[in-house]
Amino acid sequence: MKPGIRGFWTANSVRTSTLRSAVIDRAPRRFLKNLPALAALVFSVTLLVALGAFLSLAGSGIQRSGECLHLTKASWQEVETPGYSAPPASLDSHSLPQAWHATALPLTMHPLATAPAGPANLITWVRLGVDGPQAITASWALYGIRLKTDGPIAIYINGKLMYRAQQRGQQWNSLFTPLWVGLEPGVSDTPVREIVIRLEHSPAYPVAVSSLWLGPADALRGRYQVRQWLQEGLPAMLNAAFLAVGVFALFVWLKRCHEPGYLLFFNLSAIAFAAHLHYYVDLPIAHDWFGWLVLNSLCWLLTAVHFLLRLLHGRPLRWLSRGMIAAPLLIGVASLPLPWALPNSPPMLAAFYAVELLMAMTVGFVGGICTWRSSREGRLVVVAIAISVLLGMSDWALHNNVIGPEGWFLGAYTNGVTFTLLGLLMYRRYVNAIDEVEQVNAGLAQRLRLREVELEESHQRLREIEQRQLLSDERQRLMQDMHDGLGSTLISAIRSVEQGRMRDIEVSQLLKDCMDDLKLAIDSMEPVEADLLLLLATLRFRLEPRMESANVALMWNVQELPALSWLDPSSALNILRIVQECIANVLRHTRATVIRVATSAAADGVQVIIEDNGQGFDVAATLWRAGGRGLHNQQRRAQAVDGRVAWVSGETGTRFTLWLPLQRGNLAVM
């Protein structure tokens, strides 16, 4: 057995107890809420109880006990006979030896265990005298709980042979079937005065006769039927039900081969069915295959129970298991109904049953030790074994006349016990499995919620990190810009003002430049949505007053441009600064009167062209000189956005070109 297989069949006592308390808490509310269900339950139970009451009361006729005669006095004698013989058709009790012993019924005989080699057979005669009023108009009957003998039975009423049974010897179900002799009015219309019972038997057999009832058939039939139903019918029903559930388990196992518990269940039910069949079949008891089956199936049942217990407590118990397999094999071989095998003599049978009792006790005891702590269900099984052993012992007591013949053969109910036990186990599995599924579902939902919360939190964290990164980038960008532009301009202005080297108008111009710088920095933060024209428009809007005051005309020859998806605030500021620097240079150094701003789209980029009609400058020299910081700044900023700047300058003016790519491979440059 693999360890994983135990899953379904192993009790989980901790979880079970908590589950149960939860179920109990919920139960009353559920019942109150569910009135229709309550009604259905009450109706079904009432129906069954009413049926039972009706059948047992109305049918039993116990209320008419007054009309019946209970025969409890008899006399008996034993006569030796050489062998079984057919009973005569009529009998005069006076022809029998007059060696009657008076006795009270039920009568139990105790044959001497150390009987000398006596006669082959004995006939036990039991005579009952009847006196009392009898109405002969209706059908009468003679009813008794059982007549116990292993030979033929004959009953004479008023000296006439009225009933025969067990002509071929005792049958398997004889002891469980009550006696019923119908007396029809036409057949015998005189009152019953004498009943003589002839019981043939082997010398060692413990004969027994229960008390008899004589009365109207209707009044007695109930007793007979209840007796028969409880002794045969109900156990047979339980047996069949057990087998049916076993077949159900078999089909479950066919689907779930990895859970041997189901197969074991089927196995148990099949063996139990075989072991209890003898309570209901009217075959003669003989040393044949059926007898072999009856004898051995009990043994197999014990082996199956042992393996069930092993499944429950999970311990291999190798030696015991081997013993539990070896014993049935040995008994099976020893009791084979073959001509050359040993005969089923009583001492032999006693030995077999002793072995089986030993097996039962061992299984119960070892199972009890192994499961008592670990498995609640194992404990149930052990209790069931104990009950079954007790029931079996009651059978033994009846067989051997330790108990009177009016007792019950409770052994028939061991099957009921086994069935109830396994049903209980299955019920617990089933309810637990459903609860478990529900819990798993609830757990899944809970886990899902938790994961959602976690996910949301991690998203939140990511957003925060992103936000922080963005802020940090922005701060760095502005710092850089303020440092290079506004900051240095202001510092040089302060120094100049302190040293008195600057005129007010110059200071004012310097501060205006600073203001323009600041405005452009602010504009760069507005969302331009990839629109370079909007950026240039903003720049124009900001620089317009300066150009107006410088009396420079601006020609705005822009064209629609494709969107630049990479145009973020920092790129925007770089572009603004490049163009701003260019226009500032024109205003500062070239004495131009017209500035033309144009845009055009090329295959892989866009161009911003700024032309003036000033006097121009030596591009190469200016770039080479240290003083050309402005141009170098423009180059650096253009590179930062993967763009290029170019100057073409002559005497009639300068043409500045800023080329920008449509796409940028690496956006993380600054």
Binding site: I522, E526, D531, L533, A537, R540, F541, P545, V558
Partner: protein, 231 residues
Amino acid sequence: MELPATGQTTPLIHVAIVEDDLCFRLALTEAIASAGDIRVAGTAGTRAEGLQLLQGAPADVLLVDLGLPDGSGIDVIKAAVQQWSSCSVMVSTNFGDETHVIRSIEVGASGYLLKDSSPAKIVNEIRNLASGGSPISPIIARQVLARFRQIGGGGASPPVAPEETTQLLSAREKEVLELITKGFTANEIAKLMSLSPFTVRSFVRRIYSKLNVTSKAEAIYEARNQGILDG
């Protein structure tokens, strides 16, 4: 600069000023003093004084600073729209940035004035506003366009009632705004669209008032949604 003679065809423009910055107030009054057709009708240095000012006779142009020591100039603009319905409100701002300007326009301002403008420009802007025109910058034009696009076809915006649909932009108004975002000035746009420069500026005024009405409708819708107003 040709100044229309006082008391002639163009009437005097009365300007009220709500401004806590004394330097700028001085610069303003000096610039106005240099123009014969404009007169300062009253000044206030705080929100409270500004609201008090509105109790008096209405001016033609009200110049409001948003950052007043005792509260926001927005309140003054709102009150002015109610109490001086004929007056054009102008918000004075350092940078003409979108947040300040658009917010003011939404509550009823018709224009804005950059505080570092030259005296001539200040006077021009006041005249312009008094005659029914409004200034605009490319970034503000873009913002206004975005606002109307949101209202016109937005999923999350309130459903527009029939009388409110007329408040959406006309094709020409939209064209004006788009040209402004491309960097063209009012004069250039006038030439491109064969209009007078004044017409272009009055288009802008109309756009601003539509934005104001739409914002009010939006606010009412929001208030209804939140259960502030009944039915």
